[in-house]
Symmetry: D2
Subunit: 387 residues, 4 copies
Amino acid sequence: MAANSGRHFLQIPGPTNVPDSVLRAMAQPTIDHRGPDFAELAQDVLSGVRPVFGTDRPVVIYPSSGTGAWEAALVNTLSPGDRVLAFETGHFATLWRDMAEGLGLIVDFVPGDWRRGVDPAVVAERLAADEQHGIAAVMVVHNETSTGATSRVPEIRAAIDEANHPTLLLVDTISSLGSIDYRHDEWGVDVTVSCSQKGLMLPPGLGFNAISEKALAAAEGARLPKSYWNWAPILEANERSFFPYTPPTNLLYGLREALSLLEAEGMPNVFARHDRHAGATRAAVWAWGLEVLCADEREYSSSLTAVRLGEEHDANKVREVILDRFDMSLGAGLGKLTGRVFRIGHLGDFNDLTLAGTLAGVQMGLELSGVPIDPTGLQAALEVLRA
Amino acid sequence: MAANSGRHFLQIPGPTNVPDSVLRAMAQPTIDHRGPDFAELAQDVLSGVRPVFGTDRPVVIYPSSGTGAWEAALVNTLSPGDRVLAFETGHFATLWRDMAEGLGLIVDFVPGDWRRGVDPAVVAERLAADEQHGIAAVMVVHNETSTGATSRVPEIRAAIDEANHPTLLLVDTISSLGSIDYRHDEWGVDVTVSCSQKGLMLPPGLGFNAISEKALAAAEGARLPKSYWNWAPILEANERSFFPYTPPTNLLYGLREALSLLEAEGMPNVFARHDRHAGATRAAVWAWGLEVLCADEREYSSSLTAVRLGEEHDANKVREVILDRFDMSLGAGLGKLTGRVFRIGHLGDFNDLTLAGTLAGVQMGLELSGVPIDPTGLQAALEVLRA
Amino acid sequence: MAANSGRHFLQIPGPTNVPDSVLRAMAQPTIDHRGPDFAELAQDVLSGVRPVFGTDRPVVIYPSSGTGAWEAALVNTLSPGDRVLAFETGHFATLWRDMAEGLGLIVDFVPGDWRRGVDPAVVAERLAADEQHGIAAVMVVHNETSTGATSRVPEIRAAIDEANHPTLLLVDTISSLGSIDYRHDEWGVDVTVSCSQKGLMLPPGLGFNAISEKALAAAEGARLPKSYWNWAPILEANERSFFPYTPPTNLLYGLREALSLLEAEGMPNVFARHDRHAGATRAAVWAWGLEVLCADEREYSSSLTAVRLGEEHDANKVREVILDRFDMSLGAGLGKLTGRVFRIGHLGDFNDLTLAGTLAGVQMGLELSGVPIDPTGLQAALEVLRA
Amino acid sequence: MAANSGRHFLQIPGPTNVPDSVLRAMAQPTIDHRGPDFAELAQDVLSGVRPVFGTDRPVVIYPSSGTGAWEAALVNTLSPGDRVLAFETGHFATLWRDMAEGLGLIVDFVPGDWRRGVDPAVVAERLAADEQHGIAAVMVVHNETSTGATSRVPEIRAAIDEANHPTLLLVDTISSLGSIDYRHDEWGVDVTVSCSQKGLMLPPGLGFNAISEKALAAAEGARLPKSYWNWAPILEANERSFFPYTPPTNLLYGLREALSLLEAEGMPNVFARHDRHAGATRAAVWAWGLEVLCADEREYSSSLTAVRLGEEHDANKVREVILDRFDMSLGAGLGKLTGRVFRIGHLGDFNDLTLAGTLAGVQMGLELSGVPIDPTGLQAALEVLRA
């Protein structure tokens, strides 16, 4: 790839394009993690990250991938043999289920067709049926990165409340945080799981848990073994602006810069931008005569769009052509969607003309791959962008 | 502009987008310019830059802008009162003329309409008329950055040869070097002037002179005062891999990296890429129903395209709308073209999807500015890119 | 600290000074972790890291701190209720013990005075006494970062072998890897734990496990719950040059560069350099009339030196004076050594003159703090460096 | 040098060590030099640079080395055949003389022994003798980089004033600006020449002229040919925050950052730091039993110290040993001082411990080279630093 000219188009749904200023921030010299300069950095990121989660409470930051933050949410709040309710919204929901089972939890896994989010009515129904309150937690993937369907967390919360059920609500916001409106406190989420390499515009390497008071109380009795993921010593050290083990200083430099970029743009503007780009993308898909994988318009994702091809076309071939000819990476279909969809990431550090370039690449790639499309797709997107 | 998301589209015809790896190379610590590591760097860039100029002979590198390299070409080869032949191909040819006059040269300035390159027939005619061989130098701007017209240097050379005239041939390749096919030795150019911030994909700060043996001989008798620009001490020091005054080390780091990028892509591929992007751009312009400023199809520039608007539209307004709405910089009309054209740079570190994004931005900006266009323009460009 | 001039002296025993070229490598754009460029990166680091551990076998890389790599070593090889043998060599050995207990293991913790490494004779004795082979693992901290004592792993291995005991040998090389001679395969270590921010000259954020065949076999039956740390899916994915969850791409860029720096210097030279700097440091300490904490000359650490002060002097005050006056960070005494020692890190990206500056700062700081010393200390160090 | 560990000690008297934050600032993407973001950058540096020169008036910034700024000072203020008064304070004063002669000026060159600055009494005497006021300019090198002697500009100014002579005063502050107290306006200097790579802590590539009202008036009648160096169009464009030719944007990014570092430290603190480091360096030199080249204690340079060796020792050999063994670059003796002195740069981004490391390297290098010295030299320096 050395001989490619120009900037690679990284349009997978994460890792996303890291802003130059974040990369430069990360290139600052590492400092003493027990010294006064580090304490300032820690304060900046620990307080600065809260509004992005929509919480006034502490957010735990791990040196980990998002998968680690999944594990942290489970091991801090649950005990071996606990029952949890989960939903087959796609590949990542399935992986989280697998993890829960691997850790010794019993998962009620509501089957799904990988084209929509969690159905709040099913949540209501399952919780109503659980008269003994045996369900310790409901696990929801806010935005399914494998499908581009966004679950309606406020409605799920309402379903729990109506059922008067004491369950915890654990939500994965890995590909929604910093891109799609999200409110940990207001929506009564107990643990919000996230990571660095999507809407936060950072390289991978940081995992996050936002934690409700109820989750913290649950943690007292949770008996899954834990050490690295244990909230308690981290929260305690964070109060003094330090960490119980060596923190990933340079990623925290990047986080500080990324938070200041989000703040400068303003979260409502950030969300509106993602909504607008997602709308333009769908306009292109429909004008091409193709199908958006997500089947419920209330659940269209604003951070990525999965495009469904007919059986006669291999989506991975299209992706290869596009990578080869136009130096753009798109997301593959995962799990049972392998070869059936490709995914366009339109989240993070992104703008109108990069989206136009992205959709131009998709359009040309589809044409070169022999997928019959109407070439006015890009123009349809521009009409949305120009409006 | 702090709140902009995504990467700025810098589509002026220079400075161009600097590749990340060049920026990182420039961020290396400055070293002793008289030490062994520097000597290696100097050797790398002094030898590596030659093939880009198409020369086997030394190329002088100045800490300067391209304007400095213009001055160097004149003061090293000419004497007060010398006559030179120049051509009004556009704004920069006019500025170079002004400089020559300011330095005490007498310029025969052949008028032009700013829509085409140097006419080889006029060169032939003027030299034929100059029986006394009073013309000491012919000054040609290879690619007029203000108009997007590329002069046919081989034909100019042929005209000089046919006239059997001893004149020097001085060529400005500021916006063509590293983008448009150019051959200092083969075409018999005596001094090739260039700089860093265009096809070489560097920030501004380096000027270049490639020098023929004939130019070097002329330098011996040239009597314009010179010190900083004097080739002799530089060529002498360069032989020992050093410089007579402190060289701009960090820009040379960048140059080393940029040269290796060009070499990896291969100069013929680099030229073909620029030709293709220019072709796609013109396809869009024509499909929009607009006019390319350059009036001679043999002279279309491959590094930039100037688009001409009717009297009723202000090109600067269009540029402002595009900068404001789409965070893209385009080149303004300069001198007598102010407000009449805008210029799209498609040179340097660039690729198909960035061009698509660029043209999408131009298309939307024209529409938003009320310039009546046919919106299939972008699609016409994609057809060229996809082919 | 904004008004400080010059480079901060980061002479804690890790995080260490990150070379500029590693910081620049980390500033490369993040790429698709499922694409071909990433596969190349993964191959480079997965194969390149092996010689640093002295192993021909796979090394697992986690997005984590070293603490995570501790946990990984335990949960992959052990089951709840397993007995392990550990040694109170200092603060970090104690923390690892705490972790093991927290995870449900039973730890035989051999007490120590925090001035020496693991006594191979005690290993021999304990294993001989364990006729039922109830000890599942021996946990050794190779280089105690809190004390500057390096355990003699080959002798410990010999003790295990002589006892003919099937125990696993788990070794923490957090502050020795890449600084002090270490040979995972040759010394028959089963799991070697390490991390990025010490001898590997990277920022924090990567944890490592080198794994023997025997450890891998043990992992099959190990029943501590695990998901994130589970070797199996990582080893499986690594074979295809990928990772089961999003890897910390930019730290891997840094790792690639750091490995190439170590390879260029040559591991034997790297070790000799650290030995030499440690020798010079001790020469200074002794000439000052102070005491090196490590009480056994066979166990002097080559990566850090802990300096012991008399009861009447507070080592943290000395550190504060030095940070305030000379912008140098030194390591504090940890746990029961708080205020009694300060630690000088002389590992990682380091050279003679930086060591000289470091020792000059320590010398002046001691004097300013009223600790009576002989000011020829620095000169004694220079004699070692000059030799 | 690839296999060297740790940071190179760049202790030549320029280019100096560039702070990391300046290097990162320079790695920002190049922008449109005619756009609004550039205008902000230009305003910041054009106004921010004035206090560093001690002037309230415009300072012209060139893409050039310091040599270019020398030329600019001459060609903007003088005419062919003008007489100027200059002083042989060392190598650079001699080179500036050569330039002046090369440009057609007539230079009265007062001979010197390369061990002291300009003698104000000689200035007084020469100007008094020049009753016809034929001397158009007095050229003074404020701090001779080749010798480490600092001329007393206020006393020179006083001498001119007492002589009631209308001469211009041109001062080269290349290795003093930003290191040694300097006041363009207060001292009545007409043109102050400087560049980026010394006290301004930038890579080479920027030249500066600070200009008095009197110099500006002189420029109106100055008849040396000029184009690139011509103040008039630059000053005019700068008023609108632009430049008449493409400015070196990335170096200007660095300048903005460097100016903010100087401002944060405070110029009086910057000067005091340099004075202190120079004092410590001389203390070491004297304690070693060696000689400081500068023979007048009123003229000791605070930015560099030239150390004189006896005839029996080759200073370049010492420098080679030091580079080879300790990875430190020192300045060579230049011109007639070749081999007789080495020069220690202690200017720019520098601190106590780096100076200690530097002097440790010099001390060990002298010993290794067989120069007999008293090894308490470093300790003598530490006593100054500790005080």
